[in-house]
């Protein structure tokens, strides 16, 4: 019986997260517009776009794997979100986190990535494998600092369970990981830039070089599912970062505020920097962020 309730709660929290993710996207579009000095689309524009794309009457598919590509991607996004305990202490937003575990969440991100890669690959368009090759290589490089940061956190709180990590960070602002192990946070935030694929690292959907990379053949409802996933997936990642490094959230409002500012970091960096060449971005991640990651581990082990 409680399974049904848990599923109901999960559905509610997913809807909340998706709405929040999409509005966050709309707000970020507004911020970009303001940086360019124009008004920019209304904040709820992503919702309209989704409805319009779903509204398409005709769609083309390149085969079964192409059909399942977006399904894998959205399932990846859903899975990542559902395995993270969003609000510390609340039952509604606990999702399926009782099995919640950092490694599971980190590897579920790959699930979405792999599914998308296969779906786009079947499309047959040369741009999609190019985009995916760049995406996977970049993902492999920014995973290194992120994993080092995660290991540092795991050592510090002596557990891979997100709920225990968040619990350890409660109390005052000072025992957030931000202050107890700043290096880990720096490394993680840099790899977040890579994860969110904002401008300096927007190799995958590089509009000029390979017009929108992997999803070039995605149309109508396939595209719509990808758009909803972009909302949910960003929300999930931000929640993960919030839990790990910024002390989690006891209620929805704190969650929204914290995740917004985390996202703001990559948005501002994105608005200011031009895009890297692929090898530059790989080399960038393997140089300084990795060193900071290693320092964070040494810092934790010896202090």
């Amino acid at each position: 019986m409680d399974i049904m309730i848990k599923i109901l709660y999960a559905v509610i929290s997913v809807i909340v997260a998706t709405v929040y993710g999409l509005t966050l996207g709309g707000v970020v579009q507004k911020i970009y517009a303001r940086v360019h000095g124009r008004f920019g689309p209304p904040v709820w524009q992503p919702f309209i776009d989704i409805i319009k794309t779903h509204g398409k009457r005709v769609s083309i598919s390149h085969g079964i794997m192409f059909y399942l590509g977006p399904v894998f991607r959205f399932a990846g996004g859903l899975g990542t979100y559902l395995f993270i305990p969003v609000i510390y202490g609340s039952v509604v937003f606990a999702n399926f986190s009782m099995a919640g575990d950092l490694l599971l969440v980190m590897y579920f991100i790959f699930f979405g990535q792999l599914g998308m890669a296969l779906g786009a690959g079947e499309g047959g368009h040369p741009y999609s494998p190019l985009g995916i090759a760049r995406g996977l290589s970049q993902m492999s490089t920014f995973e290194l600092p992120f994993s080092l940061a995660v290991i540092a956190v795991a050592i510090q709180y002596d557990s891979l369970n997100i709920t225990t990590i968040v619990a350890a960070q409660q109390g005052s602002i000072l025992n957030w990981t931000l202050f107890t192990n700043p290096f880990a946070v720096i490394a993680a935030m840099i790899s977040l830039l890579g994860m969110n694929m904002h401008s300096p690292f927007s190799l995958v959907l590089a509009p000029q070089e390979i017009p929108i990379g992997p999803p070039v053949e995605m149309n109508s409802s396939f595209l719509a599912i990808l758009q909803t996933n972009r909302g949910l997936f960003t929300a999930a990642k931000l929640v993960l970062f919030m839990n790990l490094f910024f002390g989690g959230a006891t209620n929805l409002l704190i969650m929204i505020v914290k995740t917004f500012f985390i996202y703001l970091v990559s948005v501002i960096v994105g608005a200011a920097f031009p895009r890297f060449r692929p090898e530059q971005s790989f080399r960038f991640f393997l140089k300084w962020p990795t060193i900071i990651g290693i320092i964070s581990i040494i810092f934790i082990v010896y202090f």
């Binding site: 083309i60 899975g79 090759a133 557990s159 053949e217 090898e279």
Partner: protein, 1038 residues
């Protein structure tokens, strides 16, 4: 019963009477000739039978009616009978070999041949020194004369050089004899007491022994012998190389008791030096007979060293070691010389001609294996015991010289074998003429080697029939080779089943686990081999041999049994790899690395303290305190076999070049043998933790193998090479998790190895199916096969999801276990690097599935059908296995937990499906159901909201308002991660490959340098002999 003196009398009489018989026709003289030779053989055989079985004491024969000191007495003991039996037998068979030559040449060659045999018999039996000189001279003169049996410029000059050197040596021998007489006043060996040779007397015995030693062709002074081996007729060379050397080595054995200890040591060292340098120089040889010459000199050196160093050990051991080396050298050398005589090809690279004649190739192979000391041939046992003896005697320098020398020998012998099997047939006169006589003698000799090895196996070691199983499998299937391949496949499947049944009652469940991997895994992979169409001779024989040797590895009770099974596995996998089309270099690389590993293990095992309980090795070793050096050696040996960093270059070659249905065996199961070994070393290590924390470094090696393997795999163009590097990287994970030496670590190692066996075989068989249909392995030539081969696509998809560790499937369990064990153990940086490796593994996994199955379908693959049924069945089985483990992880976690339980106290709690370790918890079952649930939600949304979907063909893509020209230009596959390689920059250089390439170059140039000694000038050879004597004299420090 027949007095051995008659041998000498009869051969002498026949020698003189032959010319008379010849008057009345050559046929009669031949009959007499051969009857005399057979008479000799029977007499000796009868005596040998009496000595060994009836235990008759040694026989002394007095001549001329007087007792010993006054007259010459002959002695026939067990040693003499043994040597003479072989010498006469070789003499007879060589004569049969030369029957065509004897028919044509004049009668003198027959006479000389008989005199030679008489000289050999006399030399071995006589106890009197001067008489020995006389027989030695008779022997040398007849050999000098026989060298010009085939008159050509080369044999003449070689004969001349041989004669001068022989003459000088016999002069010194004469001087030695005389001075011995002068100092001891006695010529008979039995009556000379070694104490007489005090200060001045030493010169006498020195001259005597150095002359004999020169005759045995020591390293710098053996140029003259090489020329003879190279140019003289093969039959005669075999007689010189075997019969003469046997006699002279026995003379050395007779005068050895007289020699002082320091002289003995010098000769021992000289023997080892000869063995090492002649094998080193063998590397550079291109002429077949000259190569055999170098090898026979080397073997003589080894024989001398073995005689000297086993002087104080018990008789049984002497017989085994010296007897083993003696028969091994004698039979292999004679057989190989005869085969060079049959094939008549000067250059080694023309030996591709042997491919035509399968029977001769098998003979050639068996003789080469015997020579290089592969089990079950006598050379293997002798070398094992000898190394054990030397290692106990703390003579590491000698052990090093011998093992390195035999490694060089393995290199040039197996290079020769691979050329013979895989080399291209030379254009001119491709046919080998069939001469019954030559085939007859070679087959007899091969038969004798096999019988001796069986005798050794039975008499010296009481093996049960399990150890023989691999051999029996090869022989049985050799005779069943005419049956079509499918029936043989089923037969071998049943055989593996029965073998598994017999093997079943394992002592420890770790054995059971590895048993499942080896036996059940190979059984399923055999199904894939049923797809073979033609007869393909010898495939199933060696396949069964490999599988049975896996099994024997588990139940081995002693070090020797383990090592025997290990060598059987190496040789059978070598032959399987060699079947690949372009597998010549790959198999050579494989056998060199494996033998190097095997030699390290041999030293390790001989150093290890002997076992106490007689249970299986894996259990017995837990209460053995292996010293640190042994663990290091064994670990290196096992890591070579599991392709760790630094010694991994054989792995991609072997996997890629082997036939497509053989590579699953090699990558999924063969590598696990190395893992099993590492477990064995680990088990003994955890009970007695020595000071130096070796497993920390093995952990680092494992981690680095994982990361380097992943990077190398992602830059490959050939699918099988990519999978080979991926197995290397996965085994790197396993090695690293073994090195953690914690409960969780070993649990993850076992879990991952079982997983790896399943998904790697599924992937390799899928690629085999694709290769079978598209006949190409390079990935950029394929593409878009999902439409034509959907089932293979699904199996590869599940395979790569399992490899990459993405949650729902069992791969994630392995990753979770590994990372928790690493963090729990405190190896944080290694965990970070491992995580990076698993992220990089996505690259090559995506590359594999995209380039082959997704993207654009090429024109030529338009009508490709699905992979044949035989490839699909094993893939389905493995897929079901993977899904079962990912759905209900307890199926495997529970048993593994209990296995590892009896080594470490368990650090994880398993309640229901929720496994909690000190760091976090993982519930495979729940994750699987949640993922399935999550997967359904977007599927429903998509199906509901999607408008009318039109499935389109491959060219309906948005191509910037143009139409794609051709599938080749629109399929992205070639050099996919070029930007990543550019980013890696200097790190991408193949450093390890270059390192091994440099060592190879260096060894060959060194060998080129040393062989300059043989300038070909007769005089320089004499100068070498004299200088050699002077040098030994000074070293002896009289």
């Amino acid at each position: 019963m027949v007095n051995p003196i008659y041998i000498i009398i009869l051969s002498l009489a026949a020698g003189f009477l032959l010319s008379i018989f010849d008057k009345s026709g050559r046929k009669l003289s031949l009959i007499v000739f051969y009857s005399v030779l057979t008479f000799n053989v029977f007499v000796i055989a009868d005596w040998f039978y009496r000595f060994t079985v009836l235990g008759v004491s040694t026989l002394t024969i007095n001549t001329a009616g007087f007792s010993a000191p006054l007259s010459i007495n002959l002695q026939l003991g067990i040693q003499e009978a043994f040597v003479l039996l072989f010498a006469n037998l070789t003499g007879l068979l060589a004569a049969i070999y030369l029957i065509k030559k004897f028919k044509e040449s004049n009668i003198s060659s027959l006479v000389l041949y008989l005199i030679l045999i008489m000289g050999v018999n006399g030399l071995v039996m006589t106890r009197d020194l001067f008489n020995m000189f006389v027989f030695l001279e008779i022997l040398s003169i007849s050999t000098f004369a026989l060298t010009i049996l085939t008159k050509n410029k080369k044999s003449l000059s070689a004969g001349f050089k041989y004669m001068i050197a022989g003459g000088v040596a016999s002069t010194f021998f004469l001087l030695g004899v005389v001075f011995v007489y002068y100092f001891t006043g006695n010529l008979n060996l039995d009556f000379i007491n070694p104490s007489d040779f005090t200060n001045y007397g030493l010169i006498a015995i020195f001259l005597l022994s150095i002359a004999v030693f020169i005759e045995l062709k020591p390293f710098p002074a053996n140029g003259w012998a090489l020329d003879v081996y190279e140019s003289v007729n093969s039959g005669i060379t075999s007689v010189i190389a075997v019969v003469n050397s046997a006699a002279i080595i026995f003379v050395f054995y007779k005068i050895m008791p007289l020699l002082p200890q320091n002289l003995l040591n010098i000769f021992g060292i000289a023997g080892v030096v000869t063995f090492f340098f002649s094998n080193l120089m063998g590397l550079k040889q291109t002429n077949a007979k000259r190569l055999l010459g170098y090898s026979s000199i080397g073997q003589m050196g080894l024989l001398v060293a073995s005689i000297i160093y086993t002087i104080h050990s018990p008789n049984k051991l002497i017989y085994l070691i010296v007897g083993g080396f003696f028969t091994n050298h004698l039979i292999a050398k004679a057989g190989l010389f005869w085969i060079t005589g049959i094939v008549k090809k000067e250059k080694i690279k023309d030996w591709g001609i042997l491919k035509e004649n399968k029977f001769l190739l098998i003979l050639f192979g068996l003789l080469l294996f015997a020579l290089s000391g592969i089990p079950p041939f006598p050379g293997f046992w002798a070398k094992w015991e000898f190394i054990k003896l030397l290692v106990h005697g703390k003579m590491f320098f000698v052990v090093g010289g011998i093992l390195l020398g035999s490694l060089f020998e393995i290199v040039f012998l197996f290079r020769w074998f691979t050329i013979a099997v895989k080399g291209e047939v030379p254009s001119e006169n491709p046919k080998i003429s069939f001469e019954f006589s030559k085939y007859f003698s070679t087959t007899i000799f091969v038969g004798i080697t096999l019988t001796i090895s069986v005798v050794i196996m039975k008499y010296f070691y009481d093996f049960n029939w399990f150890q023989f199983l691999p051999l029996i499998a090869v022989v049985v299937l050799y005779f069943l080779d005419f049956i079509p391949s499918k029936i043989k496949g089923f037969l071998s499947l049943i055989a593996v089943g029965i073998y598994g049944y017999f093997l079943y009652p394992f002592e420890s469940n770790l054995q059971l686990f590895f048993g499942i991997i080896f036996i059940v895994g190979s059984a399923i992979n055999i199904i894939a081999t049923l797809n073979r169409k033609n007869i393909n001779k010898g495939f199933y024989g060696f396949l069964l041999m490999m599988i049975f040797s896996f099994g024997n590895l588990l139940i081995a009770k002693s070090y020797l049994e383990f090592f025997l099974a290990w060598e059987f596995m190496t040789i059978s996998s070598f032959v399987l790899i060699l079947r690949g089309k372009k597998a010549q270099k790959a198999s050579l690389l494989y056998i060199i690395f494996s033998t190097a590993g095997a030699y390290l293990m041999m030293i390790g095992f001989s150093l290890a303290p002997n076992l106490t309980s007689n249970s299986a090795l894996i259990i017995a070793i837990s209460n053995i305190n292996l010293p640190i050096l042994v663990t290091v050696l064994l670990a290196i040996g096992f890591m070579i076999k599991s392709g760790s960093l630094g010694v991994h270059i054989w792995l991609p070659e072997a996997h890629a070049e082997a036939e497509s249905d053989v590579s699953p065996f090699i990558s999924a199961i063969l590598l696990k043998a190395g893992v099993f070994g590492l477990f064995m070393v680990g088990i003994s290590y955890i009970n007695h933790v020595p000071a130096f924390d070796m497993f920390y470094w093995i952990g680092w090696i494992g981690v680095l193998t994982a990361i380097v393997g992943a990077f190398l795999a992602s830059f490959q163009e050939d699918a099988k090479r990519l999978l080979a590097y991926s197995s290397m990287s996965q085994v790197g994970y396993i090695v690293a998790s073994i090195a953690i030496l914690s409960h969780l670590g070993w649990l993850s190692a076992l879990y991952l190895s079982f997983n790896h066996m399943m998904f790697k075989s599924a992937l390799f068989i899928a690629i085999a199916g694709v290769y079978y249909r598209t006949h190409t392995r390079t990935m950029y030539e394929m593409g878009g096969l999902i439409k034509k081969m959907p089932l293979s696509f699904i199996s590869v998809l599940i395979g790569i999801i399992a490899v990459s560790g993405v949650p729902p499937l069992s791969g994630f369990g392995a990753k979770w276990l590994i990372y928790s064990s690493f963090i729990e153990r405190g190896w944080y940086l290694q965990a970070g690097v491992l995580f990076f490796a698993s992220a990089v593994s996505f690259l090559y996994l995506y590359r594999l599935i995209h380039t082959i199955f997704l993207g654009q379908l090429k024109y030529e693959h338009q009508n490709v059908k699905e992979a044949p049924i035989w490839f699909l069945i094993p893939q389905v089985i493995f897929m079901v296995g993977i899904m079962a483990i990912s759905m209900y992880p307890n199926l495997i976690i529970q048993p593994l937990n209990s296995i590892v339980g009896n080594y470490f106290n368990s650090s994880i709690i398993v309640d229901g499906y929720n496994i909690t370790s000190s760091l976090g918890n993982w519930n495979g079952n729940m994750i699987m159901f949640v993922t399935m649930g999550i997967f359904v939600v977007p599927l429903i949304i998509l199906v509901l909201l999607n408008g009318r979907t039109q499935t389109v063909k491959q060219f309906n893509i948005v191509y910037a308002a143009e139409r794609p020209e051709s599938p080749q230009t629109t399929h992205i596959a070639y050099n996919m991660f070029a930007h990543y390689r550019k980013a890696l920059g200097g790190w991408g250089k193949p450093r390890i490959w270059n390192f091994w390439h440099e060592t190879n170059e260096w060894a060959h140039s060194l060998s080129g340098l040393f062989r300059q000694i043989y300038t070909g000038n007769g005089q320089t050879y004499i100068l070498h002999i004299i200088l050699y004597i002077v040098v030994i004299y000074f070293i002896m420090g009289v």
